[in-house]
Amino acid sequence: MTPIEVILIGLGVVFITLGILTLSTYLFGSIINRFFVSKEEEEMEKIAAIVAAIQSRGDQ
């Protein structure tokens, strides 16, 4: 393999790989935010409410 080939293939594959990572990060980000994040936040709010209740009981 010649140096020119290494440079062109190497740079090309770097851009292809990170380009695919860009697209997949957008894709998974939008799917997760659409279908999962709200549920997670609800659970976190429930946990926060339980923790607050326990803390207030401890204060009494």
Binding site: P3, V14, T17, G29, E40
Partner: protein, 372 residues
């Protein structure tokens, strides 16, 4: 018979001991990468004191020297650079990249420096394997540079030593090397651009990211998997929220042990007869070229982002596409605040900066796959 080391000193060993003292001075007095330059400097002194046998390969009569064992078992095998990558993973926050995934491409653009330096090294007279090792300096990532060099030129310690010293030196010199290049490729008006607040990234996204990156990179560039896989494993420890003990060990104790071993191993490579050569000087100069063109490549790609976004993206963040985290981001933040005190570019620059870590590891894997 008792042999006195003093009478066996050569001018090469005296020069190398002076270099060892200089590295210790830079680490302690100037605070330049002290955790690394301290052990390296001390190991250089150890390696160049005559008649100690500390760097000796095993013979029929005598066992191997300490530094020989450290280098052969821990550095040449790639174990220590990979453990350091795991530690880096535990300390890296990919949220800015997840909030703005297109900055992955700025991290890719900064890898131009690797390939331009490879081309220049070939023109100067290095063979393809050596040129690829030298090019990796442009990734501004010490562990990646060592890992790639041991794979590409494992039988030539003089090149591995020069590449390692060059990579770590320029990482420490990021605040000096980058600003004039970024400034030359941007206008005052562009440097003043403020960027908006980033979106909040959910915990699930943070957990899926390291697993997804590992699978995707592993499928496309298998030779990059050891580096990227360890980086992402360390990151999974951190973001999972339930592996704090592993994250703590990986980012602290294990990382520190690996750093000490790395210092000793690099010191082993820096003996007078291997390091004091014209090739070393050439590699150090090519390293500056690699690093400078990497910064320029990222900044110029930042200009494309600036045009496409109609002026909303500050092109300086492209300059942070090299993987010197977080120094390159801090440079961009400081340059932004020099022009406009109310500008906060740090987190925006962290996106391309952490993308650069993945980019340089990917580029190293590609070169290993194509050449080694």
């Amino acid at each position: 018979m008792l042999e006195i080391g003093l009478f066996a000193l050569t001018w090469q060993s005296i020069v190398m001991i002076a270099i060892g003292l200089l590295l210790i001075y830079l680490g302690i007095a100037k605070n330049m990468e002290p955790l690394l330059l301290g052990p390296i400097g001390f190991a250089v002194i150890l390696a160049n004191l005559p008649l100690t046998g500390i760097t000796a390969a095993p013979t029929v009569e005598v066992g191997p020297g300490l530094l020989y064992i450290v280098y052969e078992e821990l550095i040449a095998t790639g174990i220590v650079p990979l453990i350091i990558f795991l530690g880096i993973g535990t300390m890296t926050d990919f949220s800015p990249l997840l909030a703005n995934p297109k900055t992955f491409l700025l991290g890719a653009a900064a890898q131009v420096g690797i390939f331009l330096a490879l081309g220049l090294a070939i023109i100067i007279g290095f063979d393809l394997n050596a040129a690829a090792s030298i090019g990796i300096i442009g990734g501004a990532d010490g562990p990646t540079a060592i890992y790639a060099a041991t794979r590409l030129v494992g039988d030539r310690p003089e090149i591995i030593a020069a590449v390692t010293v060059s990579a770590y030196s320029y990482m420490a010199l990021v605040p000096i090397i980058q600003p004039p290049i970024i400034k030359a490729l941007t206008t005052k008006k562009q440097r003043k651009i403020r960027m908006g607040k980033m979106r909040k990234v959910s915990r699930i996204e943070k957990i899926v990211f390291p697993i997804g990156v590992t699978i995707i990179v592993g499928l496309i560039v298998p030779d990059a998997l050891p580096l990227v896989g360890m980086l992402m494993l360390g990151n999974l420890f951190q973001v999972s929220g339930v592996m704090d003990r592993l994250s703590d060990v990986g980012g602290n104790a294990l990382m520190d042990i690996a750093t000490i071993m790395l210092g000793l191993g690099v010191g082993f490579l820096m003996t007078g007869d291997t390091f004091l050569q014209l090739e070393t000087l050439k590699i150090l100069l090519l390293g500056v070229f690699a690093f400078a063109t990497a910064t320029a490549g990222g900044t110029l790609f930042g200009q494309i982002f600036y045009k496409i976004s109609k002026g909303k993206i500050n092109p300086m963040i492209g300059g942070a596409g090299v993987s010197a985290v977080p120094m390159a981001s801090r440079v961009v933040q400081k340059m932004g605040q020099t022009e406009d005190a109310g500008s906060h570019l740090l987190m925006h620059a962290m996106g391309p900066n952490v993308a650069g870590v993945i980019g340089s590891a990917t580029a190293a894997g590609i070169l290993i796959g194509l050449i080694a």
